[in-house]
Symmetry: C2
Subunit: 364 residues, 2 copies
């Protein structure tokens, strides 16, 4: 059987922004968009936004940026990623009671639904708004769509404040900690283990590295009323040649998570000091981000949306805004502990609640 | 082309025991006999020994045992293995100056040549002699031909003293140290490294294990005038789940080499004591062997062959004789440091020298 050309024409999914945030979450989950394959969902988002006369719409790859141009004194960003981790038999979505289940419900199509609802229903906000929808958040950093926008069109991202709608159970999480990895290596001399005194055991020489880690007291740092909690940990140790050979090399990989009052340079120096006397090589790092909650736009966001902000420990894309000079927080309806799980789900009332709080902030 | 049956008949190598030890070494090297493929060399050894009327000859798989039956007050074993590690472009043998090069020259066809020379040229020794030629010494212990003989025909191996002609540069090396491996495992709780206080780092908990190893003082033990040198070493360490995860397991594998005054049980207990408080699992072990140099046959061997005996540190097949109640030493013309090397070679004068010393012992 030769199928006709028509039978191969892709169905272009359409988003109806008059539907509720819960319904839009379902519509978004039902458009598969695993990282690298966000074309269909970006097309649907772009097409829906182009129906709104109060927005100008830009496109870069599978990222879409829509802006109001009302000449307000402040501009804020509402940002979210369109991609998901690989689907785990959990698409299409389904609703049970107050919960919607499916890949991306929590991370973070529920947040994207809130962005789209605000775009459609707040045509005259009290501050100019930039809506950012981007691709490839769930994969290696060099592919990140927000990073690409920052390189290609930094002017599209200029603002006084940004909210990333990544799942936080609706709480405001400020800034983020930085992260740095380093390899600490000991070397020795190989020998047959029957004549071990002819060698020099590199694994034994790693004892002080593990001792210093075991005795390390991480800093607790208060910044703008938020408490950050650092950590310095071995995430890998490996050494050994064969069961009868004195090993000549041992590697300990450590991960330092540092509060945003420290720069990457200061963090590197700290790790080198902790392991003074050893060969320390920093292999990768990402700067943290200060919460910026003392900025007026941020303070008003916290006041309008309610609740007590807390520090963000994990590294997130808010640091990309911070690097552009834009204070940023995370605040989304999803539950971060459900991200990437087969059982991923999101509370429908949490979606409606955040939409209401966002509207209150932008219409006050 | 259909080859005739005759053209497929294997050439059966023949050993002429009237040739010198150097020549016999070359002949033996030129019969490839990688472990598991000792049929041709065992056939050649068996056929040559069956020409000697003063010996009875037994066969078990690729092992050959030949004995005198002169009713002497003592019986001694001269033992050697017929197999080699895989050939490394170093067969056939070649002679340069005083050295013969090739796979097995040092480990240990030069020793086998001395055994064959004694068998052929000492028809009326002053003590009964059992010549043992065996297979699969270079591979895993369960395949070892001497172990198989000990299980199938322990009566063939009964004697007052045994010499293994493994390479020792002609020195008498007495007994051997035991070996024991143990796994020491720490456990913890996984967590994201950005929130490390929610986890429990198993790698950090391994610090005291490495500390105890680094501070360990091995025993030096004098037994029958030989100094044994123990060692307790990490031979492997591994832990780590991912670069952003607090690891929940860390494994340290230690190898304890112990002097033959300690049994396996005592050695196990010692390792458990050193790592008290940790989960220690002994995974494999082999008992050591006392030198037995105070036995008359052994003392006369040392006196007749000259030189100062020394302790054997590595585990060798002498422990198999020891387990049968037969004191045993290593003494062979090869250089142990050349075993398993591409450049393996053996001194021709060392072969002639050991043959002369063996003859002096057995004809005195």
């Amino acid at each position: 059987m030769t199928p006709s050309a028509a039978s191969h024409a892709p169905t272009r999914p359409v988003l109806d922004l008059s539907r509720t945030g819960a319904e839009l979450t379902a519509d978004l989950v039902d458009i598969p968009s695993v990282s690298g394959d966000e074309g269909a969902i970006a097309d649907a988002v772009e097409a829906a936004l182009r129906q709104l006369p109060h927005l100008t719409v830009e496109r870069d790859g599978h990222a879409v940026v829509a802006r109001t141009h009302l000449g307000r004194r402040e501009r804020v960003v509402l940002a979210g990623h369109l991609d998901t981790v690989p689907i785990a038999d959990n698409v299409p979505s389904r609703v049970e009671g107050d919960f919607i289940y499916g890949c991306g419900t929590s991370d973070m199509k529920s947040g994207v639904a809130v962005q789209l609802r605000i775009a459609a229903t707040v045509p005259e906000p009290n501050r100019d708004i930039t809506f950012v929808f981007y691709d490839c958040e769930e994969v290696e950093a060099r592919r990140n769509g927000l990073g690409r926008l920052a390189r290609n069109h930094p002017e599209w991202l200029q603002a006084d404040f940004a909210v990333l709608l990544e799942g936080t159970n609706g709480v405001v999480e400020g800034g983020c900690q930085g992260t740095l990895r380093a390899e600490i290596r000991t070397t020795g001399v190989r020998a047959h283990s029957a004549r071990s005194w002819l060698g020099d055991n590199a694994i034994h020489k790693a004892a002080p590295i593990l001792e210093r880690l075991a005795g390390y007291r991480p800093r607790l740092v208060d910044i703008e009323g938020l408490q950050y909690h650092e950590g310095l940990n071995a995430v890998r140790v490996e050494g050994g040649v064969a069961n009868n050979v004195i090993p000549d090399e041992c590697l300990v990989v450590v991960n330092y998570r540092f509060a945003p009052d420290r720069s990457v340079e200061e963090a590197s120096r700290h790790v080198e000091e902790v392991f003074a006397g050893f060969d320390v090589v920093v292999t990768d790092y990402a700067a943290g981000a200060l919460p910026g909650l003392t900025q007026p736009a941020a303070a008003e966001f916290v006041a309008a949306t309610g609740g007590t902000p807390r520090a963000k420990f994990g590294w997130t894309d808010v640091a990309r805004f911070s690097a552009l000079g834009v204070p940023a927080v995370n605040c989304g309806p999803g539950d971060p502990n459900l991200a990437h799980t087969r059982d991923e789900h999101c509370s429908l009332s949490a979606i409606a609640d955040l939409e209401k709080r966002m509207r209150a902030w932008l219409q006050s």
